[in-house]
C-alpha cells in the first residue's frame, strides 16, 4: 500500500469520524432546538431544567429511551419490525457523507506514523467524506430508500393505523420524489454537472442559484418538507387521525430511531438546499480569504449558519401551518408541483438556449442575472396570479353558495 493511499484512507477515516459525530450530536441537539423553538412560538420557555438552558435534555431523553421497556406486538413480523428503524436511520445518516461541508483544505504532509508506516497527502482535501462524482443523484437515490423503513415499520406492526401511516408515507414520498427530481434539472441545465463541488463552483462564478432558479428552489423546499414527513406534510404520523402512524407500536430506542432519522433527514435536506441553491459553503465574494485553514473554517461556519437557518425554517413552518388533508397533499404533489417543475425545466432550457444563441451572452454572472429577471416575472405569475385558488389551492374547488336545506323536509323511508 503506497504512502499516498494510506494518507487518503487516514484522512477519510478522520473525516468520517468527525462528520458522523457532529451529525449525531447535532441531531440530538436538534430535538432540543425543536422543543425550544416550539416553546418560544407558544410564549413558553421550553426545557430548561436539565443542564444549562436544558442543553443536557437530549442526553436525559436518550438515557430514558435506553432504559425503557421494549414492547413487541404479539402479531408483528419480528424480523422486519426490528429492522425497520434501522432501515429508516441508515439512509438518513448516509447522506451526510456526500455534502461538502466547507471549502477544500490544502493539505501537505509526509510523515512516518507508528503501525502505519510512511503516510503522505498532497493536494486539496475535499471537505465531504466522499466527494462522489454522481453528486445529488446519489442523494436522490438514497433518500428514497428511507421510505422502506417507514413503510415496513407500518406494515410489520400489524396494526391498521400503522399500516395506514406506512401506506400514506410511501404514496407521499413517491409522489414528491418526482417533483423533487424535476426541480433539480434546471440546476443540472445551468451547471452541466451533478457533482456538489461543481455546483458550488458554478454558484461562486455566477449567482447563488436561489436567484436565477427561484421556482426550483421553492419546489425543492416543498418537496423536501414532504420527503422528511414534516408538517404541513406529516400525514404518515398524523397523530390526530392515526394515533401515531407508522411508529404507533414502537417503544424505547426503536421508537427513538424514527425521530432521530427524521431530524437527520431534515439536516440533510437543509444541507442539500444550501448546497444546491444557496451557494453551499460559499462566502459571498469579497469576504472569502485565500485557500487555507482559515478559509475552510470560515466557510464551514458559513455552511453551518445557512443549514441552521433552514433547520429553523423547518421548525418555524411546523409550528405555523396546519396539516394538509390527504387528497390536498396528493393534488398538490401531482397537479401542482410536478407540472410546475416540468414547465419550469422547459422555460429554463429555452431561456438558457436563447441567452446563449440569440443574445450570445457568455459571462455566467450576466446570464444568471438575466435568468433572475425572468424569475421575477415567473414568480409574480405563480404567487400572485396562479396561486389564488387557481392552482396552488390543492383540491379546493370554488362552489356556488348553496342554500341551507329547508327544515321541514319530509322524511322518506
Amino acid at each position: 500500500m503506497s504512502a499516498e493511499y494510506k494518507g487518503f484512507l487516514l484522512l477519510s477515516v478522520l473525516k468520517m469520524i468527525v462528520v458522523f459525530t457532529v451529525v449525531l450530536i447535532g441531531v440530538a441537539l436538534l430535538t432540543l432546538m425543536e422543543r425550544k423553538v416550539s416553546a418560544w412560538m407558544q410564549n413558553r420557555r421550553g426545557p430548561n431544567r436539565v443542564g444549562w438552558a436544558g442543553l443536557l435534555q437530549p442526553a436525559a431523553d436518550g438515557l430514558k429511551n435506553i432504559i425503557k421497556e421494549e414492547t413487541f406486538p404479539a402479531s408483528a413480523n419480528p424480523v422486519i419490525f426490528t429492522l425497520a428503524p434501522v432501515m429508516a436511520f441508515i439512509p438518513a445518516l448516509l447522506l451526510s457523507a456526500v455534502i461538502p461541508w466547507a471549502a477544500p483544505l490544502p493539505v501537505h504532509f509526509d510523515v512516518r506514523l507508528p503501525l502505519l508506516g510512511p503516510v503522505s497527502y498532497h493536494g486539496m482535501l475535499s471537505m465531504a467524506v466522499a466527494d462522489l462524482p454522481v453528486g445529488f443523484l446519489f442523494v436522490l437515490a438514497v433518500s428514497s430508500l428511507g421510505v422502506y423503513g417507514i413503510a415496513l415499520a407500518g406494515w410489520s406492526s400489524n396494526n391498521k393505523y400503522s399500516l395506514l401511516g406506512g401506506l400514506r408515507s410511501s404514496a407521499q414520498m413517491v409522489s414528491y420524489e418526482v417533483a423533487m427530481g424535476m426541480s433539480l434539472i434546471p440546476v443540472l441545465l445551468i451547471t452541466g454537472n451533478v457533482g456538489f463541488a461543481e455546483i458550488v463552483t458554478a454558484q461562486q462564478n455566477g449567482l447563488w442559484f436561489v436567484l436565477p432558479l427561484f421556482l426550483s428552489c421553492f419546489i425543492f423546499l416543498v418537496a423536501g418538507f414532504a420527503e422528511t414527513n414534516r408538517l404541513p406534510f406529516d400525514l404518515p404520523e398524523a397523530e390526530s387521525e392515526l394515533v401515531a402512524g407508522y411508529h404507533t407500536e414502537y417503544s424505547a430506542m426503536k421508537f427513538s430511531m424514527f425521530p432521530i432519522s427524521e431530524y437527520a433527514n431534515m439536516a440533510t435536506v437543509s444541507a442539500m438546499v444550501v448546497t444546491l441553491f444557496f451557494g453551499g459553503w460559499d462566502l459571498p465574494g469579497p469576504w472569502s480569504p485565500a485557500p487555507g485553514a482559515l478559509r475552510t473554517l470560515l466557510t464551514g461556519g458559513m455552511m453551518f449558519a445557512k443549514v441552521m437557518f433552514f433547520l429553523f425554517l423547518f421548525m418555524w413552518i411546523r409550528w405555523t401551518l396546519p396539516r394538509f388533508r390527504y387528497d390536498q397533499l396528493m393534488a398538490l404533489g401531482w397537479k401542482v408541483m410536478l407540472p410546475l417543475a416540468i414547465l419550469y425545466v422547459m422555460l429554463i432550457a429555452v431561456a438558457l438556449w436563447g441567452l446563449e444563441h440569440w443574445a450570445g451572452i457568455g459571462n455566467p454572472k450576466v446570464r444568471m442575472g438575466a435568468l433572475f429577471g425572468l424569475n421575477l416575472i415567473v414568480g409574480y405569475g405563480v404567487f400572485f396570479v396562479l396561486d389564488r385558488g387557481l392552482i396552488l389551492a390543492g383540491s379546493y374547488r370554488a362552489r356556488p353558495p348553496t342554500a341551507p336545506a329547508p327544515l321541514s323536509t319530509p322524511r322518506t323511508g
Binding site: V37, N43, R45, T320, L321, D387, G389, A393
Partner: protein, 172 residues
C-alpha cells in the same frame, strides 16, 4: 341572535396559500419575541400579594389555620358550630372546660383529605378562630399527616381567606 356569536369575515376571493403562509410565519415569529408566560414554579411562586405577577386571589380557600388571641391562647371556645355545619364532616371536636368555666378544645382535628374547602367553618365561627388559608402547597409523605391537629392548625402562619370580612360578619 341571543348569544353574541363572533362571525369571522370569510375572504371573498381565494387567497394565495403561499402568501397566507408567510403571513402566518410572521405571526409566529412575533410570538417568539414576546415575553414568556411560563411560571418557573419552584423558584417563582404564587403569593397572596396582589401586586405580584402570580397572585393568588385573597378569596382562595386552602388548608385551615387556627388563630390565637393576644395572650397566645387559641381563640376557639369549643362551641361546636363548625363540626355541626361542616358538610364533609371532617372536623373532630372534643370540648373541655377549665376551673374558671372557660371552654376550650381538648381535641380539634381537621381531616384535610375529607374537607371540601367550602369555608363554612370560617363563616360560622363566632370567635373568628378557624380560618381557611390562602395557601396551596400541602404535599406530605403519608396520608395520616393530612389530619391536622390543634397544634398544627395553630402553628400555620399563612394568610387567611378574606372571603368573609371580620368587620362585617353578616356580609351586609
Amino acid at each position: 341572535m341571543a348569544i353574541g356569536v363572533k362571525v369571522l369575515p370569510r375572504p371573498e376571493r381565494q387567497v394565495s396559500y403561499v402568501r397566507a403562509a408567510l403571513k402566518g410565519m410572521v405571526l409566529t415569529f412575533k410570538h417568539m419575541l414576546q415575553p414568556k408566560v411560563t411560571m418557573q414554579y419552584p423558584e417563582e411562586k404564587s403569593t397572596a400579594d396582589e401586586r405580584g405577577q402570580y397572585a393568588i386571589s385573597p378569596r382562595w380557600r386552602g388548608t385551615h389555620r387556627m388563630l390565637a388571641d393576644e395572650q397566645g391562647r387559641t381563640k376557639c371556645v369549643a362551641c361546636g358550630l363548625c363540626p355541626q355545619i361542616c358538610p364533609a364532616n371532617c372536623i373532630k371536636l372534643v370540648p373541655g372546660e377549665d376551673e374558671e368555666g372557660n371552654r376550650y378544645p381538648l381535641i380539634y382535628e381537621i381531616d384535610e383529605f375529607r374537607c371540601v374547602f367550602c369555608g363554612y367553618c370560617q363563616e360560622v365561627c363566632p370567635e373568628e378562630a378557624i380560618h381557611v388559608g390562602v395557601h396551596y402547597e400541602n404535599a406530605e409523605y403519608s396520608r395520616d399527616r393530612f389530619v391536622y391537629d390543634l397544634e398544627r392548625l395553630s402553628s400555620q402562619v399563612h394568610p387567611v381567606s378574606s372571603l368573609w370580612d371580620p368587620a362585617d360578619p353578616r356580609g351586609e
